[in-house]
Structures are given as C-alpha cells and as structure tokens.
Amino acid sequence: MTDQHFQVAIIGAGPAGMAAACTTTKAGLHTIVIDDQKDSGGQVYRNLRANHSLSPTYLGDSYYAGTKLSNDFAACGANYWTDCAVWQITSSHEIALVSRGEAKLITADYIIIATGAIERAMPVKGWTLPGVMSVGGAQTLLKQAALGADDAVFVGSGPLLYLTVWQYIKAGLSVRAVLDTTGRSQWLSALPFAPLAFLQPDMLAMGQKWLREIRQKVDVITNVEEVEIAGRSQVEGLSYTTSSGERIDLPAKHVFLHQGVIPNINLSMATGLEHRWDQKAHYWAPVTDATGKSSDEQIYIAGDGSGVGGAKAAAITGQLSASAIVARHGKPRLMAQLYYKLRHLHFLSIRPFLDRLYLPEVQFRIPQNDETIICRCEAVTKADINGALGSGATGPNQLKAFSRAGMGRCQGRTCGLMVQEMIADHTGQSMAAIGYYRIRPPVKPITLAELASLEGAWPQ
C-alpha cells in the first residue's frame, strides 16, 4: 500500500544527495529527494540559496562553493520533498515519511541514504547549561538566521571550529577566546600523514588563512585541558588548565563546543545494514563497497554518512553511488565511475592527517567529573553509568535498560559513543566487540495521530 514509486529515492539534500540527484535525473531515472529542511544544502550549505541573494561575505568561499551544486540541483528536475522526515526503511524498501502532520509510504528500486554527519559530543562539566551550544549549532544560527553572540568562548578542535570563528569575526562579532584542546600527542600521531595532506593544498591554505586572520583578532590558547563550564540556570563562566598547569577562569555567557563530526548512522542502523567500527576515526560507519553500496544490494550510502570526508568528497560519493545505480539500469558508466573514484581518493588524502589530529583526547570524549551528564535526554550522569556497570551491565543495550542512557528522544545520537567507550574501559573489550545501541525505527519522532494517517494503516 504505497502512494508512489520511484526508480531512485535519495534521503537528504546535502552535497551528496544533491549531486546524486543531478546524476540520476540526467540519466533519465525517475528520482525523488526527501529532506527534513525547508531548503536544500544540508548543514554545510544550509540556507545557501536564500543567503546568495544577500551575499554576506562573512560566510566565506567554502560556503559559496556550494552555489553551483545547489543551482544544478534546483534545475535537475528531481521530485523534491522538503520538511519531510524519513522514520523507517522497511525490508521491502518502503520508505516511511512524515511531513506536515501526515505519514506516507513510498517505494523505490534503489535508495541512497545521504543523511550526513553529526557533531561528536564534548561532555565537559556544565555542557547542558543554556548558553552552551555546539559550534555547528552556533554556525547554523549564523547561516540561517544571521544571528551571532558577542564575547563567546569557542572550545575544542577541528576545522569546523576554526571556520566558524573566522565567520564570526568576519561578521563583526567579537570572540573572547578560542581554547584549542588539540594535544601534543595528536600532533605527533598526525604528523607522519602531513605529506599526504599536501595533496589538498587548497584546503591547507584555507585553514592557514583562517588561523592567521583569527589570531589577529582573537586570543587562541592551545593545549587546553580540564575544561569546566559554570552556571546555575545559564552559563556564567568557564575554567581551564593551560599547558603550564595554570588554572584560568573566564567569565562567559556563551560557550561553543566542538570535537569534530561523525557519521549520522541512525537511519542506516535502524534499517539493519552492516556497520563497522573505524578505530582510526573513532566512529561507526556503514559497510559499503567502492560505490557506496551497503550490505543491502538496493541501498547505497553517500556522503559523510558513510565516513567523514567533507562537502567536496560528499558530492563525489553522491555521483559515485548514483552512477553505479545508473549502470545497474543498463547504462554502463565505467569511465565516469573511475573518474569519481579517483577524485574521491584525492579529496580523502587529507583525512588521515585530520582524523588523527582532531580525534579528541579521552578527557574530552568521556566526562572527567562524576556529576557530568552523559545522556542529555534522560539526565544520566557518569556516576549513573558507572553504577550500572557495577551492577553488571555488559553491553550498550543492557546498560540502556539499567540506566536509561540512550532511551530518550535523541535515541543515543549524543551519548552512544560515550557509553560504548565507558563499557570498553570497564570490561577491557574492544569498541568493535561491544557494538552500538540497537537502533530501532521510528528514527524520527512521529505521533500516533500521524501514524494513523497512513493509508492502509488499519485493517479495513
């Protein structure tokens, strides 16, 4: 009982989804793109088409680099449903959606999951206080609503942190400080991969430019440790330890945290696809072949959701998966696929360096303080998790039952890796052996009334 059938359904209208749709529609395949935002671009090119008419320069070249892709996508002729959340892909490849209060099922011969990345949690004391946001959240406010906060403190590491600070100062906002938590050991493990990173000179040069311009206006403090945020019902300040062991207090109303991004795997996990633990990048990613084909022959994963590579690499993987699907419709595209694959490998050349440099130290992956919250939804603290481990919980799902961590509305998106790593520490097992929460549909919230609106949901 479905409303519509498509040859290709693409979930997510970020760079991977947009590029995939351009490729499948060009080959004449009946394509639908489903996205939960009101305009295309994903997070990286969010609100790009609306911003483009006003062209605020503070968002920078790396943002406007998405203009051509966004325009090509708008003109490509794919069906495009906005404000539309996918809450399940069934074993018979029905895609269950909810949009504006109504649920719907569609079917597709091939599905491309292009749901991108989410930010890795940075669970320091006080990180749940109003006034603390992720750096991605702060950047989204700037892109979507042209809102910024003066005198914010940015804490953490990674390219997105520096890009956002750069955008902040270009927008005329004052930044109190950047507290970089990248440790010396990370530099040491990343350095051997620096030569490979020089295959991406543009990206390295861009990073250098951001840093240079930031340092002219903002205090950048490196090797920061033991970060704690203080406040009662909102942020009042934060404290940290410098590399020389000095404890510093800073008053602040805004603290923006970032420790890199990880694949958003909730939909691919809930669909029952195989996943692998990537020990170097320290995250779970779906198992795919070179074209992004998952453990289900009909489902492909493109973009950062299959392993973080950034916006340009995401667009290439979208083209790669799409051209593999086109080939399976009897239109071989071997040269195109080879070209996309080489381009993809080229874009990935900087990743071994970045992945090692920006893998957060343990003190920023696991809270140091017993009272720090791990599961934000259910307000479960580190002490609560340790209590559950002491009571004999041996895996993420059992620990969920014991402590309620991961049982809230975000379905473990925030606490999943933290809980898993605490179990690994406690039991001495590897992260791969411990596994992740069992993620079940619906992966997006849906009310009973919306569910009941599904045609055929009730026996006649």
Binding site: D36, K38, Q43, L54, P56, Y58, I118, E119, T128, L129, P130, G131, V132, M133, S134, G136, G137, A138, T140, L141, L142, Q144, A145, A146, L147, G148, A149, D150, A171, G172, L173, S174, R232, S233, Q234, K253, H254, N264, I373, R376, C377, E378, A379, G408, R409, C410, R413, T414, P445
Partner: protein, 108 residues
C-alpha cells in the same frame, strides 16, 4: 547598516527582510520574521531557557539541526516540538516544556 552591541544574548549581523509575524512565548508577545525557525526567533528575543529536564536541569538549544532534542517546547498545545525544526507562524502560542517530574518552577 550598523548593528550595535546590546545586552541581548544574540544579535543580528545582517538585515533580514521578510514579513513580520507576532507570536506569544509564555505571557509575552514577540515579533519575528516569517520563515525563521522557532528556536532562532526565541534566541533573538533573548529567550535561551526552553525547557526543564529531569533533576531540575534547565536546557536550551544545543545543536540547531534536529539531532539533540534539547530545544523541545510546547507549540499551540502540542508538546515535544523541536524548536529548531519548527517554522514560526503568526499567532503561534509557545510555552516552555516542563519535565514531568517537576512542577514548573524556573530558577533562571
């Protein structure tokens, strides 16, 4: 166009044009621009405390992309609405969301 610094938590860095809409947050009438998301409209009006979680924690928007579910508010009587995903509409009635084990007292 100059956007002076004020006492507000967030400020505009660019002129955004659009139809003004009025909505209610708790007992206050607030003006926003049609098409803004609810979380941005509230933050712009200096409202950063959106709900209480268990153990009397006060929470506000965190990820702004629909992942963390920290910005849940009650919109037009419907609880558990993600403010960062909902679009502000004229006449919307928005309330802070209270954790079930609390009786609704804000400290902030």
């Amino acid at each position: 166009m100059d956007f002076p610094r004020g006492d507000l938590m967030f400020r505009s860095v660019m002129t955004k044009t659009g139809k003004p809409v009025e909505f209610q947050f708790e007992d206050e009438i607030i003006t926003a621009i049609d098409g803004d998301n609810v979380a941005a409209a509230l933050l712009k009006a200096d409202k950063i405390q959106f709900r209480t979680a268990k153990k009397h924690d006060v929470r506000g928007p965190y990820c702004m992309m629909g992942v963390c579910f920290e910005c849940l508010v009650e919109i037009d009587g419907r609880p558990n609405q993600q403010a960062c995903q909902a679009i502000i509409r004229d006449g919307m009635q928005i309330r802070r969301q209270q954790a079930p084990d609390l009786d609704g007292e804000y400290e902030g």
